[in-house]
């Protein structure tokens, strides 16, 4: 197992290098240099421009610039925001907790709803209930999050006035749990609406797969009680493919809430990114994109390792390893 994990990690190295090369290539695809907003300004003297280019290392050959950038990344140096003049890593760490609060809460809420409903739909496949739930999942996966968000704000904040329309706490008020929950209700519901739909589908199909297995019939033939069969033999096996999907959900915790953060004015990662895009603060954009890509790789490693750990049928020596 440890060996498998190690091999899986080593296999990810070329992918990580590839990610940095592509990020770097995109940075240099940018028309003009990262400093063009300063260098094109005629009021700035040529000497200062040269100094600035030197300070940012833009006079060095490309491979040296690449090396400087990557070795910075490895040390946790994600560059400096052009506009805020702060290290991007600090900006991210400052905003990340808000994003995680939103994404993790809605993830947990979706699982809380989706797992029982998904199981129920698989057990009673093609029943009335299954059809109704499946109809709702179509709505859930099709509804644009920003639109649902706006509609909920119009209904619950503007018309009814029950809930705040944005932010994480009432301005100038002290922190209180109730206040925080009130502010999180709409964004979490909006985000969970889409996630629940997806997870119901995963749980249902994973469970359906298991229900038709021979060992389920054996358990029934032995005369075990229905619930015990369903949970001890059924759900535990259905969880294996789901565990993989949890791993793949990891980058979403980091990057998944951008538009909703904008709709609900939540100062998280996504807003940091969108503000960066408006201000053409490229170091912020590239840092977030690169970190997001690293997390995807990490998530898929976790998924594979979890899968191997949970399912004894997986043959570790022969399994195809990919990033």
């Amino acid at each position: 197992m440890a060996l498998y994990t190690l091999r899986r990690l080593l296999n990810a190295i070329p992918i990580l290098i590839g990610i940095t090369i592509i990020s770097f290539a995109i940075i240099h695809m940018a028309p003009g240099s990262p400093l063009s907003q300063f260098t094109e300004d005629p009021t700035i003297k040529q000497v200062d421009k040269d100094n600035m280019i030197k300070a940012y290392g833009l006079d060095k050959p490309l491979y040296v610039q690449y090396w400087d950038w990557v070795s910075g990344l490895v040390r946790g140096d994600l560059g400096v925001s052009l506009l805020k003049n702060q290290p991007v890593a600090d900006l991210i760490l400052e905003r990340l907790p808000n994003t995680l609060l939103l994404t993790v809460t809605s993830f947990l809420l979706s699982l809380l709803i989706a797992i029982p409903l998904g199981i129920l739909c698989a057990v009673r496949a093609h029943s009335r209930l299954d059809q109704i739930v499946s109809g709702f999942t179509f709505v859930g996966i099709s509804i644009p999050g920003f639109w649902l968000g706006l509609m909920l704000i119009i209904l619950f904040a503007v018309k009814l006035g029950w809930l705040p329309s944005g932010g994480l706490q009432t301005v100038n008020a002290d922190f209180s749990l109730i206040d925080r929950i009130k502010h999180l209700t709409l964004p979490v519901l909006t985000m969970a609406a889409g996630e629940v739909a997806i997870w119901i589908r995963y749980v249902r199909s994973s469970m359906l797969e298991v229900i038709n297995q021979d060992y389920m019939r054996t358990a029934k033939a032995k005369g075990l009680p229905g619930n015990s069969i369903l949970f001890r033999h059924g759900f535990r096996n259905a969880l294996i493919p789901l565990a993989t999907l949890f791993g793949l959900a990891l980058p979403g915790f980091f990057a998944g809430a951008a538009i909703l953060e904008q709709v609900y004015s939540i100062p998280g990662m996504g807003r940091l990114f969108i503000e960066g895009a408006f201000q053409r603060d490229y170091p912020v954009l590239f840092a977030i994109v690169t970190v997001g890509a690293f997390l995807t790789v990490l998530g898929s490693i976790l998924a594979d390792v979890a899968y191997a750990a949970l399912d004894p049928r997986v043959n570790l020596s022969k399994q195809e390893v990919r990033g």
Binding site: P14, I15, G18, I19, I22, I26, M29, A30, P31, F138, V139, I141, S142, I143, P144, G145, F146, W147, L150, M151, I153, I154, V158, P251, F254, A255, A258, I259, Q262, V263, F273, I274, A277, F278, R280, Y282, L285, F286, I288, V289, G292, A293, F294, T296, V297, R322, G323
Partner: protein
């Protein structure tokens, strides 16, 4: 799998497709969705001739008017006719989805076929590249590159094409891997058929179904992505209308209080279109599935 060699065999070879069509028609939601989408495409194409007003014509005396006989969907914050703008927005949103998915299919099919059929080094290089591209958080990557290139219709399509084909090539590669050692491929190889012909005449027709399904679903997600970008103000720029940027101005409190239809209608169109593509994708899956 039979191959049509003479006109007589032709009817035999076509039968599975007929059965798939029968099954697709039996799926009521998919069938209805198809008609809704055909209607939307017609409206989008014909917008310049059938739209009741000029999309840019402002009438500040009549701003934020509720739906009426003259303005079926009401007017926006500059007094422009919302129905007209929704019609013109459909042109942009559907064009982005259709063109980017077509080019994604072309790239995805080419890369997937090469990797799956030739295997070995070609396969591992191409698929490693796909892995790398898939690792990037899609939405953030799109925003970054669109911002670098300046946001407009053409650049958005280009960027959606550059970063949207990977899933399809991986899917097709898997399909081809499971087919390429089957007897009918061996037979084609034995009679000295060219690789190109084997791939296009014999392998692809048997491997393409999941790719088509995924392309259908991708139409929906492209519309969502484009409208999200435009909603944020990082995509199609006003005064050009797109379903997403029609909602952009609607974030102000005045509009939310006084004219909730302004964000409701374009958002509902996005929702409806995505749902239609999802139903059709589902219908296609059922139609192709049971063999």
């Amino acid at each position: 799998m039979n191959v049509a060699v003479s006109p007589n065999n032709n009817t035999v070879a076509r039968k599975p497709k007929n059965r798939a069509w029968e099954r697709f028609k039996a799926n009521r939601m998919a069938f209805i969705s198809m008609f809704i989408l055909i209607g939307l495409v017609l409206v989008a194409v014909l917008a310049p001739w059938i739209a009741p007003h000029d999309p840019a014509e402002q009438d500040l005396l009549n701003k934020l008017k509720p739906p009426s006989a003259d303005h079926w969907f009401g007017t926006d914050d500059l007094g422009r006719d919302l129905l007209t703008r929704v019609m013109y927005g459909a042109r942009v949103s559907l064009a982005v989805a259709i063109f980017s998915v077509i080019f994604n299919l072309l790239i995805g099919i080419t890369v997937g076929s090469l990797a799956g059929y030739y295997g070995g080094k070609t396969d591992s290089i191409l698929m490693r590249f796909v892995d790398i591209m898939l690792a990037f958080p899609q939405f953030f990557l799109l925003i970054t590159v669109v911002t670098l290139l300046r946001p407009n219709l053409f650049n958005i399509i280009v960027v959606f094409v550059l970063f949207g084909w990977m899933g399809k090539s991986r899917l097709l590669r898997g399909q081809i891997l499971s087919l390429k050692n089957r007897e009918f491929v061996d037979a084609a190889r034995t009679i000295g058929m060219s690789d190109f012909r084997i791939i296009f005449r014999h392998i692809l027709p048997n491997a393409i179904a999941p790719v088509i399904i995924s392309a259908t679903l991708q139409m929906g997600s492209m519309i969502l992505t484009e409208s999200s970008l435009s909603f944020l103000g990082l995509g199609i720029q006003p005064p050009q209308a797109s379903w997403g940027n029609l909602l952009q101005s609607a974030q102000s409190l005045t509009i939310m209080t006084k004219a909730p239809w302004v964000p409701f209608i374009p958002g509902f169109m996005i929702f409806l279109t995505i749902m239609c593509f999802n139903f059709i994708g589902d219908g296609l899956r059922n139609a192709f599935d049971s063999k």
